[in-house]
């Protein structure tokens, strides 16, 4: 079963980030790369990415057949997605075990959500 591990960036996580030394901040990225490799070697990784800053994002909508792509809202957003790991594992416990290895779990917390599948049930 697939689970999405979400890493959010918010006021609190930024605060904690500021308390890290420069070396610790560098190790952070290295630890993410190592975890990705570990997941790959274990055969559980479906995808994992870090996302660019929201200021680089576009918001897309379609009205009257016209595509509108605009810059993000000017007001500060409280929280945004910073990165994710999508894993395919036996059960929730396993997903949690992997989430615990995400460096952000030690500094703050990460979210683990089950992914919907296409199973069905006749009764």
């Amino acid at each position: 079963m697939k689970y999405l591990i979400l890493i959010q960036s918010n006021e609190k996580s930024l605060e904690v980030w500021e308390t890290l030394t420069s070396e610790q901040q560098m190790n952070f990225g290295r630890d993410h790369r190592r975890l990705t490799e570990e997941m790959q070697a274990a055969g559980v990784l479906v995808a994992s990415e870090g996302l660019a800053d929201p200021s680089l994002a576009k918001w897309v909508s379609v009205r009257d057949d016209k595509t509108i792509a605009s810059d993000g809202p000017f007001a500060e957003v409280k929280e945004h997605l910073a990165g994710f790991y999508l894993v395919d594992v036996e059960d929730f416990e396993q997903a949690i075990a992997w989430a615990a290895k995400v460096p952000d779990a030690a500094l703050n917390q990460v979210e683990v959500r089950p992914v919907l599948d296409m199973s069905g049930w006749d009764f």
Binding site: Q40, V46, L116, D117, W121
Partner: protein, 390 residues
């Protein structure tokens, strides 16, 4: 392909590099037979070539060999592998040291003969993930010290249990991962049926294997009517039965009927019997619910579980009315195994709707929709809630 693989593994005991040897033998055959003609005993030829190649590879890898006891056994004088080798291989793939998804991947690869890419596409995960799973699974089998022989008599029944479970898992993966028809995508439910037929060929006297095959046939028969073109799920009661696969139903019904008459009863047979009762009804109203209720009663004794409890309660509603069923559901819901299970809400919603309490039903449908992990079910539950909007 499994016969050749089985023969090589039986002789040389190391699972890991055997597939490469087999592939090279097949490649050699493809290159040489058109020019030289097909040999008198093609299988023996393949086995000899694969064995020779295997020896070569062993020699080359000697320095890197991790396990000292991957020693070549003295090849037997004649070549006589039969279905036995494939069965042994299937047993090996379902070794208890492996996780269920590893058992699935390894079985599809080694017994089903699917490529890593095909398995990955069928399961909707990256090819590298499947490759790693299979590699690690083989390593675990090696580490467990398992040899290429049938499990000892005392363990055989339990291993056969595991094999049936893996085949049923593969069958259900066919539903779980399916996202409509896709080009070049192996249909896992068809693959599961094929492998189970093979298993039945090797173990024709096993009632539960027959029951499992019948269950798969009778369930898969309904597939054409199960989803609308837009992907929405159609519940059993609303399915267009003219789209059911009549041939598969006939085969499944014959099989379970014959099996029930001779074999000791088991859970797969009971589930198949229930499916047969559904599939034999010309329409939903013609369903023999009293018989289904009795069968669930037996299943509850033989193989109790949350799904059995809930499905039985639905049958109670059809026989004794929704009020009785709701009372039983309230009792059943106190069981910790069912606590928080979204299907409790789904069944409750269904029963409340039957009982003529649409608003209470709507609430339960919405609750269930939030708790389910199935996308098509979520859609179905939300559509039921919408239909009941005041």
């Amino acid at each position: 392909m499994p016969q050749v693989l089985g023969a090589v593994v039986r002789r040389y005991g190391d699972f890991g590099t055997c597939e490469d040897a087999v592939q090279e033998a097949l490649l050699a055959a493809a290159q040489r037979w058109p020019a030289e003609g097909v040999p008198e005993n093609p299988r023996a030829w393949l086995i000899t070539v694969a064995s020779r190649r295997r020896i070569e590879m062993l020699r080359n890898e000697a320095a890197r060999r991790r396990r000292e006891d991957a020693v070549a056994l003295e090849p037997a004088a004649g070549v006589a592998p039969a279905g036995d080798d494939s069965l042994t291989l299937l047993f090996l793939c379902c070794h208890p040291a492996l996780t269920p998804s590893s058992q699935v991947a390894l079985t599809l690869r080694a017994v089903g003969g699917l490529s890593t890419a095909e398995i990955a596409r069928a399961l909707l995960v990256p090819e590298t993930a499947v490759g790693q799973r299979i590699t690690r699974a083989k390593q675990r089998i090696r580490d467990s010290g398992a040899r290429f022989v049938l499990p000892p008599e005392g363990e055989r029944a339990e291993r056969l249990n595991a094999v049936r479970k893996v085949l049923y898992l593969i069958f259900n993966e066919g539903y779980t991962a399916s996202s409509g028809p896709a080009l070049h995508r192996v249909e896992l439910s068809a693959e599961a049926i094929r492998l189970t037929r093979q298993l039945r060929g090797w173990l024709p006297a096993d009632g539960e294997v027959a029951g499992l095959l019948a269950l798969m046939l009778l369930t898969d028969a309904r597939r054409p009517a199960r989803t609308r073109p837009d992907g929405a799920l159609v519940p059993l009661a609303a399915q267009d039965r003219s789209r059911w696969d009549a041939a598969a139903i006939a085969e499944g019904v014959d099989l379970i009927t014959a099996t029930l008459a001779t074999a000791p009863i088991g859970p797969y047979q009971l589930q198949a019997a229930i499916a047969a009762v559904h599939d034999e009804a010309a329409d939903a109203a013609g369903t023999d619910w009293p018989q289904i209720l009795q069968l669930y009663g037996l299943l509850r004794i033989l193989a109790p579980g949350p799904m059995v409890t809930l499905n039985r309660i639905v049958a109670v509603a059809m026989v004794d009315g929704p009020a009785t069923a709701l009372a039983e559901l309230d009792v059943a819901a106190t069981d910790p195994a069912l606590a928080g299970h979204y299907r409790v809400a789904a069944v409750r919603a269904h029963l409340l709707e039957m009982a003529g309490s649409p608003q209470a039903a709507r609430e339960q449908y919405r609750l269930a929709a939030r708790q389910t992990l199935s996308a098509p079910e979520q859609r179905y539950l939300e559509s039921r809630a919408l239909a009941l909007r005041p």
